[in-house]
């Protein structure tokens, strides 16, 4: 199922983006839109929350890489959680793990990404 919108929840200076479905170039657009709406001065860190069913193709990976680079330039910290074992390996293979950290659990991510956590 193609991703149509990205839910954003906020926990202090941390914004959590829920990424579900099939992430491609087209469905990467709502991801970019949601990300663009996060003022780096307010949201110092961002968490991409996947679920085990989320599928990301090569275009989706390029979208994620670009967002990670953009966040890095804006001085935001980004984390990823909830990805399947398969995509954890793929993210490692394409270098996403060089740009960000993949957390085993959401709690661990929240704790690490928020100063108040």
């Amino acid at each position: 199922m193609a991703m149509e919108e990205v839910q954003v929840s906020r926990q202090g200076s941390l914004a959590v983006l829920d990424i579900r479905g099939y992430v491609t170039k087209t469905s990467g657009v709502p991801m970019k839109t949601a990300f663009a709406g996060l003022d780096p001065a307010v949201y110092r860190s961002v968490l991409f929350r996947f679920d085990k069913e989320t599928y990301v193709n090569s275009e989706g990976i390029k979208t994620i890489i670009d967002l990670l680079l953009e966040a890095g330039q804006a001085g935001q910290r980004v984390g990823i959680t909830g990805v399947s074992d398969h995509f954890e390996k793929i993210f490692g293979m394409v270098g996403i793990t060089k740009l960000t950290r993949i957390y085993k659990t959401e709690e661990e991510a929240v704790q690490d990404l928020t100063p108040e956590g």
């Binding site: 491609t24 170039k25 193709n57 090569s58 275009e59 989706g60 990976i61 390029k62 979208t63 890489i65 680079l69 398969h86 390996k89 793929i90 490692g92 293979m93 394409v94 270098g95 996403i96 060089k98 740009l99």
Partner: protein, 497 residues
């Protein structure tokens, strides 16, 4: 045990990597299937390829040897200035590669490109188009492996196929646009020519009639033969002009509006002046009708009417025109079914089909006209027991200006004579009417078996056919059936006058 587990993990990782690569290959093939926009193809390809290998920078460009420049360029990760530099350098790198076999893709050492481009690959789309793909270093810092290079070549070969399709589609689109433009120019020219001919021909026709009236009392029959020949050929020209007008959907001729305005403004004065010359009666009305007929527009208003009645009435007016022929005209007309469309094209279709049938049927033959309702359609069928149409000609019969007989065979040019034939514009006109007024036109024909040898010719009279013992022998040997299938008038259509 530990080593086995490690080997299994390595194999598992390798499998997952290959699975991901295969998915990329599948996505590239699927997403590009049917895509004909070269810019979008390159952009999507670059996104997928850079995503697949985990690189930040990449570019792809196409060079057209015809124009000697970069036709398309797409890049990711490079800023504008570096992007422009890549374009220039890429162009000169590709300039030396014209002549490679289409489809060839190979890894190259591309000197002069930015150091961040660590993998370059050139490819040939066709003899006029070459391309260059450049990828930056992987984020993970590993070099491109042999396996990566193999995958890259496969991906690029997919790209080449998609680009070839896109270029063919573009060439087709461009050829279609050119043909359409030429077609419009041709229509305009024919329309113009038809209009230019219309006025002088109307004048010649009027003058000829006047001449005929003056010569009526003159002695001798010599002038009559010359006069008849001139009139016959003028009628033929007028008929062609009329057909062409219908084909190009003729609009009112330039002088039409001026003549109408003059008539509307000075109708009474004209009548008084003509009365002085002894011409009395509804002259102005007659003149108005003639102006409409000769110079008016071909726009027809649709109306609801009985197809059977219209066909019957038109047939009655038509029959005297071929009374000199021994043709058995049969009818099977149901007056019930009604259609909703302009009446004039229907009458022209009927006249054209009957004329075509009579001219292709030898004396002693039979022509049948039928109108029958079938479901939501009304069928107008004109069948003849004539010579039929050659199989090769059947496909082209509605193309226009395609005579089914050799020109030498219709030398008399007298309408409705056997083999009188014509330029074939009448059938094209019917086809155009069928498209303009949304009805179907069908044809079924079998060539007379006795004429299979092109050397044999029909004598034009069954009595003179050496191969027919009786009329039925001719009826069974071949013939044609043309059908015009009209939709039944929808309920509530405006009734005809």
């Amino acid at each position: 045990m530990h080593e086995q587990s490690q080997a299994a993990d390595v194999a598992q990782d390798r499998l997952e990597r290959q699975l991901f690569h295969l998915k990329t290959l599948y996505d590239i093939s699927r997403e590009m299937l049917g895509e004909t926009d070269t810019g979008r193809i390159l952009k999507n390809f670059l996104l997928m390829t850079t995503g697949n290998f985990g690189t930040i920078d990449g570019f792809v460009l196409l060079r057209e040897s015809g124009s000697g420049g970069i036709g398309h360029y797409s890049c990711v990760g490079f800023n504008e200035e570096r992007g422009r530099g890549l374009e220039t350098r890429g162009e000169s790198l590709l300039a030396g590669r014209v002549g490679d076999a289409p489809g060839d893709a190979s890894l190259i050492t591309a000197e002069g490109l930015p150091a961040s481009v660590v993998c370059s690959l050139s490819f040939t789309v066709d003899e006029d188009c070459t391309g260059l793909l450049g990828l930056g270093s992987k984020i993970v810092g590993e070099p491109y492996s042999d396996e990566d290079n193999d995958l890259l070549l496969t991906l690029v070969n997919n790209l080449v196929i998609t680009l070839k399709n896109a270029r063919h589609a573009e060439a087709l689109r461009s050829a279609y646009e050119e043909v359409s433009s030429l077609n419009r120019a041709k229509d305009k020219m024919i329309n113009h020519l038809s209009h230019e001919l219309k006025t002088p021909m109307a004048v010649v026709q009027g003058s000829l009639k006047l001449l005929g009236r003056h010569l009526k009392g003159a002695p001798g029959e010599k002038w009559k033969r010359i006069y008849d020949r001139a009139e016959r050929n003028l009628d033929r020209l007028l008929e062609i002009q009329d057909e062409v007008d219908d084909i190009v959907h003729g609009e009112a001729v330039g002088g039409y509006h001026l003549l109408r305005r003059l008539l509307d403004g000075c109708g009474d004065e004209l009548e008084v002046l003509l009365a002085e010359k002894g011409t009395e009666g509804a002259v102005v009305e007659w003149l108005r009708g003639r102006i409409e007929e000769v110079f008016g527009s071909r726009e027809c208003e649709p109306e609801e009417f009985s197809l059977g009645d219209a066909v019957f009435s038109r047939l009655q007016r038509l029959a005297p025109e071929f009374s000199h022929r021994r043709i058995d005209l049969g009818t099977d007309i149901d007056a019930g079914p009604r259609v909703f469309m302009p009446r004039e094209p229907v009458e022209k279709v009927l006249a054209g089909l009957v004329k075509n049938a009579v001219e292709n049927t030898p004396d002693g033959g039979r022509v049948t006209v039928a109108v029958q309702r079938q479901g939501e359609c009304v069928r107008l069928k004109v069948a003849d027991t004539g010579v039929g149409i050659l199989a090769d000609h059947r496909k082209r019969i509605f193309e226009g200006f395609f005579p089914t007989q050799e020109t030498a065979q219709y030398a008399t040019k007298v309408p409705f004579d056997f083999n009188a034939g014509g330029k074939g514009a009448d059938l094209l006109r019917m086809k155009i009417f069928s498209e303009r007024y949304s009805f179907d036109l069908k044809m079924d024909s079998s060539r007379c078996i006795l004429l299979e040898d092109p050397e044999n010719a029909c004598p034009g009279d069954i009595e003179n056919c050496a191969r027919c013992q009786k009329e039925e022998d001719c009826f069974e040997s071949g013939g044609s059936t043309f059908e015009a299938v009209f939709p039944v008038a929808p309920a509530g259509s405006p009734p005809g006058k």
